[in-house]
Symmetry: C2
DNA sequence: CGCTTCGTTGACGTCTATCAATTCATGTGG
DNA sequence: CCACATGAATTGATAGACGTCAACGAAGCG
């Protein structure tokens, strides 16, 4: 296992550990997962709609996005995935994709066989719950994006998206909330904010003019965090970053579990 | 157990069965879940943000919605929940809500203790996977709503929402896709479509004028299904209604599962 | 029968999309 | 090192979609 591979698995584990208590054995089981490395250049599709996959994708570098594609070709980013994110853990229980997954920048992905993920989930129920919980965070983020797109203007939408990435970056030790790398174009940011590239450009200018956010050549600088939180109505609770740690499965079954299906 | 209670559990089971293969024992375990009935009048909150709950809510009648609330009071519906939907199955692994849940019409809800759900999930791993998969459907719907709000005009947004409810109604045997009850106001529809009540009104008039959809006093009539599918760019794949049935957990663990945590 | 909620209409203003150039940044081959 | 190609960022002018405000009519309900 290369160090890069190992580093990504550790990031994924630490992501799980930030929300679930796991025993030594369970942690080792995660770190021992088999992976196959795949590299994608910018704007290359990783998963297409209706495709049936047999592995999940762990982002090990770069930025990956989930897309919804309209019939006329327009598209909408529904989530960003950063290093350490398992961008389609859902596929373990729903192998036929209903979305597409694309590399926004050059990206490195570790493919992990569904069979292996199911095996550790069956062997260690606490891992099954941890995976399920991880998917719940993803849902919570999606629900927040619905609110964002439905009820905010361009300033609010763009700055909320950047706030989210900021905290996720900071939490994964990939930068600080006020300065981090996000190697995407204004057009891609537009696909996330539900607007056009032209309007994103003008919105970024306004944010810069107000001395709130600077975004240039893939580097985001949030100049005034508090003001941005106010402007974008950002409440980080939905990221579930600071929940009290629990073992999701606290109940001992009343009968022994055979593990056989 | 009253017949109404039993009917709702059966609807929930049939929802699970439409996507997962479950043994007789597993099915019985679902039907034996303890429930407590709760009734809510229209616009009454069922769950508030930051509230920690110890039970999941199964909708047994009426319409329930998940909301995202803005600081200025404006709100956005992020999902509709109909009879047979477990509207916060997520809460089993994330008991602290990051959203609010509200009854849109008079609604009957069955509360099911988290402990019981965790117990059957541990006893029957296939149920754990079925629950997880059910949450995945919810995610898939959320992702589609992000696309809707980000990239469609008012005609597309409203008709897409109605298409979705139509198929979910039909699938749950609560009506046909072209005629079903949806006891909500135009204002509530506006909260789902990310627009104002006034504009929803005009959009509905336009749909009526074009002989596509009629929506009056809580009854939706889709006059020209094919035209609406075209107009709203509706592809039902994301609802995962007709997936091939599988047991999500097909791998036998290599070591015996103790079930003890 | 009065009250309240819901649906409907009109006038007006704002936000965002659209289209079409133009500048800027980056990388490549000569 | 320069000429050139390519994509990203920027600008201006214009149009359309949608929000806002205020009023009025219709329908359910005690």
């Amino acid at each position: 296992m290369t160090t890069a591979t190992s580093a990504a698995l550790k990031l994924f584990l630490s992501r799980l550990l930030s929300r679930s208590l796991l025993s030594d054995d369970e942690q080792k089981a995660v770190l021992r997962l088999r992976t196959r490395r795949a590299d994608y250049s910018a704007n290359r599709d990783i998963v297409s709609p209706a495709q049936t996959v047999d592995h999940a994708c762990l982002v090990a570098g770069g930025v990956v996005a989930r897309f919804d594609q309209m019939h006329d070709g327009r598209r909408q980013i529904t989530s960003f995935f950063l290093s350490g994110d398992m961008c389609d853990l859902h596929s373990v229980v729903a192998p036929k994709a209903t979305w597409s997954m694309t590399a926004l920048s050059h990206a490195t992905v570790l493919q992990i066989p569904h069979d292996d993920l199911r095996r550790v989930a069956l062997e260690y129920p606490a891992l099954a719950f941890a995976f399920w919980r991880d998917c719940t965070v993803d849902s919570s983020i999606l629900a927040k994006w619905v609110g964002n797109l439905g009820r905010k203007n361009s300033l609010g939408r763009i700055s909320h998206v950047l706030c989210e990435v900021a905290l996720r970056m900071e939490n994964a030790d990939l930068g600080s909330r006020c300065l981090f790398q996000l190697p995407i174009s204004q057009e891609q940011l537009a696909d996330a904010g539900g607007m056009t590239a032209v309007h994103v450009n003008r919105t970024l200018q306004e944010l810069r003019r107000r001395n709130l956010i600077r975004f240039k050549s893939g580097v985001v600088e949030i100049v005034d965090w508090d003001a941005i939180v106010e402007l974008s109505d950002f409440d980080p609770a939905y990221l579930m970053l600071n929940e009290p740690l629990t073992r999701a499965a606290v109940v001992r079954p009343t009968v022994s579990v055979s593990g056989q299906l």
